[in-house]
Amino acid sequence: MSSVSRILATARPTLFSSVRAYSTSSAASEASTAAASSATEAAASSATGYYKVTQTRSLIGVPKSTIKVLKSLGLGRRIGRPVFQPHAPTAAGKILKVKELVKVENMSGTIPAEGYQRTRATKGYKVVGKMLP
């Protein structure tokens, strides 16, 4: 570690439930609850849910090992098309490998039957019958 980083590290307590200073706004509320409960399980999302993973960067110039992991997650086809992965260590490890290329949201409940969320608007009408066979 650089000398500056080491000074910061000694000032930080080393607990398993991390006390990393996240700067995102959603983290500010989470940090207080996580510190109070001192457990990573006490989060806004339910215990068993799924990740909604969306690719945000292209694969061009990315190492082949990272591309393989991205494709095993179901990504790599179109940027902005979300994919659902269960809350499991296998999926978590893959997402952390490609963390520079994706964004993640925690969802509660079971994984939807449809592989990815439709991004088009609803039609506004419903087809009840057709004249032609």
Binding site: M1, S2, S3, V4, S5, R6, L8, A9, R12, S18, R20, A21, Y22, S23, T24, A27, E30, T40, E41, A43, A44, S45, A47, G49, Y51, T56, R57, G61, V62, P63, T66, H87, A88, P89, A91, A92, G93, I95, L96, K97, K99, E100, L101, V102, K103, V104, E105, N106
Partner: protein
């Protein structure tokens, strides 16, 4: 330089340097570096919040977040060949998509 020729990058051997040779980054470049670091932190935070535990998460929790990093670690990386043993992060190929080390070896 060579008689009638106007000295240019192309005429001086064909090697054309399009990237700035300077170490300093513009304010926009630095802002985007910070934005990308925060985005990577956000991914780690979401995995933490899900309650799942894995080795990759344990290793990443030991790394500093963007707020905890000094400026030198955000915008430069350790390099054994550069003068001062530090080079600007934009010299790393595909630095905006590849995981950059957040800490340098002790003393550098």
């Amino acid at each position: 330089m060579f008689g009638a020729f106007r000295a240019s990058g192309v005429s001086q051997g064909g090697l054309l340097w399009k990237a700035r040779m300077k170490m300093d980054l513009s304010p926009t470049q630095k802002a985007n570096i910070r934005k990308r670091l925060k985005a990577a932190d956000d991914v780690v935070m979401k995995i933490e919040q899900s309650g799942v535990q894995c080795n990759a998460l344990t290793k990443l929790q030991a790394e500093p977040t963007e707020a905890q990093m000094p400026a030198m670690d955000k915008y430069t990386v350790f390099s054994r060949t550069f003068k001062g043993y530090r080079k600007s992060v934009h010299k790393v190929p595909h630095f905006s998509k590849v995981a950059i080390p957040r800490t340098a070896p002790a003393g550098f």
